[in-house]
């Protein structure tokens, strides 16, 4: 079981882990949160639809 943990117990000289830096940066999260669905859902979906051959 993990012990209760607060930032006050941390060593102030310890480097901040990458994941915490990511989670503490709302604007980087905003970029990722918009770009991932824009590419995976919207862009890919629209490319799929535009790739459907037109009926003659």
């Amino acid at each position: 079981m993990s012990a209760p943990h607060t930032p006050q117990e941390d060593d102030p000289d310890e480097p901040i882990p990458f994941m915490q830096q990511l989670l503490d940066n709302p604007f980087l999260l905003l970029f990722l949160g918009v770009m991932v669905p824009m590419v995976v859902y919207t862009l890919w979906g629209v490319i799929d639809i535009l790739s459907v051959p037109l009926a003659r």
């Binding site: 994941m19 915490q20 709302p26 995976v40 979906g45 629209v46 639809i49």
Partner: protein, 565 residues
Amino acid sequence: MSATTYRTCPRSGLQFEASAEKLMIINAVTAVVALLVGGILAIGVVLTRWPAVHWLDADTFYMVLTAHGIDMLIFWIIFFEVAVLYFCSSTLLRCRLATPKLAWAAYVLMLVGAVMNNVAVFQGGSSVMMTSYVPMMASSWFYLGLILFAVGALIACFIFFGTLVIAKRDKTYQGSVPLVTFGAITAAIIAVFTITSGAIILIPTWLMSLGVVQSVDALVYRTIWWAFGHSSQQINVAAHISIWYAVAAIAFGAKPMSERVSRMAFLLYILFLQLASAHHLLADPGVSTAWKVVNTSYFMYFAVLASMIHGLTIPGAIEVAQRAKGYNNGLFEWLRKAPWGNPVFSGMFIALIGFGFLGGISGVMMGTEQLNMIIHNTIYVPGHFHATVVVGTTLSFMALTYFLIPVLFRREMIAPTLAKWQPYLFGFSMYFFCLVMMGAGTLGVSRRHWDMAFSGAAMAYEWPGAAYLMMGLVGMSGVAAIAGGAIYIYVTVGSLLWGKKLDQGAVSEKFTPIPPTAPTVVAQSYGSAGFTAPGTFALAMVFLVAFVLYYFVNWKYLSTLWGLA
């Protein structure tokens, strides 16, 4: 910087900045007005879909259903969410709100947009449902109203982000933002994607309604519209889960079981939750199987995992806090001794259980491409999303309101006994409403249709009696839920109008004059509680068994629909 004041609420220890407080109040009150309008319209919807009553004529029904959908799913929810965003930034971080004048402009844009859209619908020429699929055209005012509303909401999101910058600059908190605020960040990020998608597709559609653009491709419209239509409900998920963490912190002093795990779960939402929009297009031929499978299976399951983490860690955090108070007998004394008479807690917990068991499990089933074929475009779909949006989000917002009446609105709640029972009436009638809707949908009853009997149609369909029975039960439970909603409106509006005025507490011109104070200290700080929660793990196993069984039953059902040679 313009002068402002900070009020310290004597009942909660929360600190409200004056301009943020006014904006929270006006957005929350407007949300409740939208809920009132949507609730009145719900009477028309359920009494028409109740086959024995079949109240409204077809034209009126489609108009009422359109307005009900937009007022409930867009206006009620997003006005309230803006209030939540301002609360989670300015109040929980104890700083001033960024650009309050712009926040008022955002509110006016949202209000004008909402009114414009409603007027367009009630004029009768825009009964196009919430989805407003092209080429079926509504009045140009319908689209313009939605666009103005979306622009206002987008501005509000960026004011939230600006407030985070102010709090960081002024060092009003140490280390990471509180988890509740992090959940609000998640909601705001999803909102930016959602609203941007709405603008991308609604602006050309608006131009099409004006004759400026000749056509908008129907498939492209559906794809991009659902990035708006479904993701708007994912804002709700992030927002109401933040509220669950807040209620656990306020009512029990419960710290999250693990801040890191809960934040990682929110990160999974940020990256993957919006992709669930694809399950609306599982029956569409234009998008590829790879796109469908990646979006609704591989990636969406990360978001499902995140929901299950929250579903475990929130009751788990409550259990750890209760056990620390001495409720250690057996697996469930902590739950039996919870404050079930407090609507803030009961509303939140009924929302959590209903959201997980009804909305969550049915959502995963629907998001599976093969199983989706069983229920696509049936009334099962509204059964699912009433479990997520009404049981999950609306009931959570109602629970939070009961906390905010004395804290934010500074009024003593009227009719406390009614308020005590309201979450049970509303929540359990909605549980039943969703279940019978899903039952009728499994039998194939269409969503949105005015007359399930297809009276007078050349090719009528003979429904089994159970379908009519369940649609009758939809009507009855719907009326009970509307009564529960009416009690909420009565208690909240009545408290604002007639409730005894409460002490506003000390007012100071100083910046962040106080440290976080009980009973909301946990909601404003960082820290984990650990994983000693055997009762919650037992409940999680019950959930897992229900999940597996329901999934299996639907595959079994699918296998009986088409005989294989």
